[in-house]
Symmetry: D2
Subunit: 312 residues, 4 copies
């Protein structure tokens, strides 16, 4: 894999090392090349990206930074390998349409046959998987506004040393960022909602939590009509899904950390003129929000059992 | 004061003890009566409520639990004292209209002349102070939906020993609660918005943060028209207010903890059909959200300098 | 198992449910009887202890409170089952000598043949496993003083709702407790050191950390002579042990949480007259310090692979 | 002041800005020069050290990094100003003997008349203030070993962006560092103990806590004889000290954070051959452990009330 030294990169290394059918051919990390770290009980020495033997492997995971990934995916393809790219570069709404978007449960056929898969962002995974059952039933009110507030653990911001991510800066604090609908993940979500013909506005505000892992998204959705059985759309759409959990109680981070699941609940909102739903959705940003879904997609692409090597 | 053993009660004791013009006549705590605790460098022995000499004091603060406060406020009035009640019992929308509602900056005249003031809830303080400048200018779109997501530190849930508030239960976690517009504070906010003729729906979802103190509210507001200068409504309304801070940058908990302020920012939301604003508002739930505002109200009622004894 | 509702009890339930060769016949919890909780992806309904069919099982784990366990172990024996008792009741130094003490790596033969095993305390596990290689080589200076400072995550204090364990009380804090050599685990450690003929004093001071899990013990040991190869005693004694890790670098909690290991390092202390060693030792208090070691002991007693069902 | 951008530097800026008799002439921070930050409700723009007008002020605080401070103190003296240096450069045991060591309560006369004061390290403040009453009474056993284990909040490690200080690295963790008696503060403590004729070995092991602020030191001391009244040495030595608190109960971080105090308790250790004492001592590493004590020393040097501007 390429770009193995970040939090998502290491999580992915660990999943590959523990995977029954995958083996780790190389793990690159340009600024830490030559460094040996302990991952999943094994010593992993980071290689220079230039030493990555792209042609010797069936599939390359890239967790390179946004902007740097695109050209590497081209090289991977030239070398004849398939690619799962964890960056934003190739996701819908980012100027590279036509690449399979790796929301596994929703794009399975496309992913299985793809040579390149754009692995979704962590926030979009938590929000789009939660919205899809409403969208596919035409339940989202035309012209309404979906308001998604998400809060993420700090690993979502990466492990480059930045002052604002120091323990003493983050502890005991909570703040919004990317305010005013400016976060990078917004394009990806809007393009996907458009693809689903969900003709609603989306307001998205991420927040930084003083925890290491996990995302909780709290989403209000204007409906076309009240629902009799509020959880039924999710129960139907995701009936056979091993990695989607529909819960009566609103999910918490502790329900999902270290697991490759999206846990979703929904409840009607009392006292509003038009019918509205409160949908809550929790994931581990490093697992279902990044490395876990990447492995899930790779399993599909390689014809393996989709659940192979993934923590339930 | 009555009900001094909770987090808000102790914070209030500390403020009274440090106040230049107030002195603490008694501090009751029924289940901890006889216990001596150290507050603000002084020994405070909790008395039985039955031993509270209500008639000997000018003003009684009550931080008794919701439900229990109402009858005590009646006794305080019978004894000839004035009261600041921190419970929800007498707040607007809770069946006891006509009591002065202690959002100090917005109800100053009423509070100054009142014998009983219903001190606002912590969430309503953060949300209503943020919304008032929009409401009073008629800027909130008729029939639109205000979506307020708040996240609070754990002291907001009190200090009664409950399993779900243990450190090992709360740490590393984040969850919504009071979902579906069911939180006790909703009535108080709706009644106040109605009073302001803000004819919009309100969706309110509180969350529990793994921090001790602080509330951040992230609020989307549908507007009647775009604003040229987005902060101008707050700058105008709160021009001379010592306890309201208008900030360019979105506020964080660390900007406000241990201080009697509401810190507010606002930014337009890009990419929505109708104009919408993102308003963020931060307070310390125990200070401006409870004990601090109670002292601010008492200062007004007693003809003292409104800022006396309050931490800026 | 008996006493399944505490933190160690639930951890043990989870290990049993995931164990390849064990199955959970019953899980009692007197004050939560009838309650169903989700453990390891399964619904577990707590039974009344009176409904526990002690005679129908091969082995009973008891995680009952100290004091209550002793009589239940007698009942288990009468019913013809074997027992692993996680309380302090039957451990050495507590008035019930002759019971096999379940420091697995050090008492393997005794444990394998025992009908009752007293599972060690969490602190003693971290300290005694670290000291044994020095004691068995006669390296601890006669008449010297071993100083053991330990810091534990909050789950070590159990999950009964107590005010001092609330999030807002523990967060951002650190304190010693059981000071002056008064902690319950001291007897168990002294009796064991005596059994090893380690004729040294022991000073033990536990501390409460604002984390959920993990114990780090920092131990100074007066030596009879300087060591050429400081880690050699541990490397030799624990050469073939799957659950003991000897590390060059001083261990941290994150090296051991959720794993059934003791991780140990040692370094000479510069600038002291007589030779002294600093030994650091880390465990997960709920795994190797409680439930994990209990399963390890049960595996031995039942003739199973000692590592079966244990997280490395 | 020089070196104002670190955690101690900013704390010191804040104390100066709030001080009734001091004013802040300049605040330098070489790598952040030109940056304006908000400190104590005021805008502070960091200057280049080259622009510091050392000759225009009475006293300069230097919080420059270790190694860089020494030459600046020389420049300050040449410019005719007095200096309080917060680095280790001029402290006892570091090659620059003869400089007044700023343990205020213990060296008052020397400090009052000094032109340069070496402000003590945070760990030494917590440990030496705790040991002095025993040392001055000759109560520390000749040739014995004092074992000091300290745990510090992360601000003690500074605010330079380092990967190992990121939130996701520090949270939920606890580890020792500077093991084997190698920490920089050891020289300073040994030299001071030698100066006190306390002829005992010292073992010092610092630890990193997942909290922002505070140091707790847990110290075992071999005594020449048992004490009848265990707290009496401290009560006598520090009888009139406003910034030293002697407590029956072992102190916790929350007792001292944001305050310029050392809080000390002591208890005899049961079950040891020779008499030993457990002494616990807590400070705020940024206040009494750095900026607060620096102001306390400056107050003395400038003939001001020693408590001026200091948070009790």
């Amino acid at each position: 894999m390429l770009g193995a030294s970040g939090y998502a990169g290491r999580e992915l290394c660990a999943l590959i090392l523990r995977h029954p059918a995958l083996s780790l051919a190389f793990a690159t990390a340009n600024d830490q090349r030559g460094t040996t770290v302990r991952i999943a009980g094994r010593d992993v020495t980071f290689a220079s990206p230039d030493d990555a033997r792209l042609g010797d492997v069936e599939l390359v995971f890239s967790a390179l930074p946004h902007g740097a990934s695109k050209e590497w995916v081209a090289r991977i393809q030239e070398a004849g390998a398939r690619a799962v790219d964890l960056s934003a570069d190739l996701r819908p709404g980012n100027g590279c349409e036509g690449i399979a978007y790796g929301l596994t449960e929703l794009n399975r056929a496309l992913i299985a046959g793809a040579t390149v898969v754009a692995n979704p962002g962590c926030y979009p995974t938590s929000i789009l998987v939660a919205l899809a059952p409403l969208a596919e039933r035409g339940l989202i009110a035309e012209g309404g506004t979906i308001v998604a507030n998400s809060a993420s653990g700090v690993t979502g911001a990466g492990n480059s040393p930045k002052r604002e991510l120091l323990f003493a800066e983050v502890a005991d604090d909570f703040r919004a960022y990317g305010i005013g609908n400016t976060h990078r993940h917004l394009n990806e979500m809007r393009a996907t909602l458009d693809g689903w013909k969900a003709n609603a506005d989306l307001v998205f505000t991420p927040h930084l939590l003083p925890v290491a892992r996990g995302i909780l998204s709290t989403i209000t959705v204007p409906l076309t009509r009240p629902l009799d059985d509020v959880l039924q759309p999710w129960r139907e759409t995701y009936a056979a899904e091993p990695f989607i959990e529909i819960a009566e109680a609103t999910p918490a981070l502790r329900d999902v950390v270290h697991r490759n699941v999206v846990r979703i609940s929904a409840t009607p909102l009392a006292g509003t003129r038009a019918p509205m739903l409160l949908v809550t959705s929790a994931i581990d940003n490093l697992v279902k929000g990044a490395a876990g879904q990447a492995v899930q997609n790779a399993n599909l692409m390689l014809g393996l059992d989709e659940t192979a090597g993934l923590p339930l």
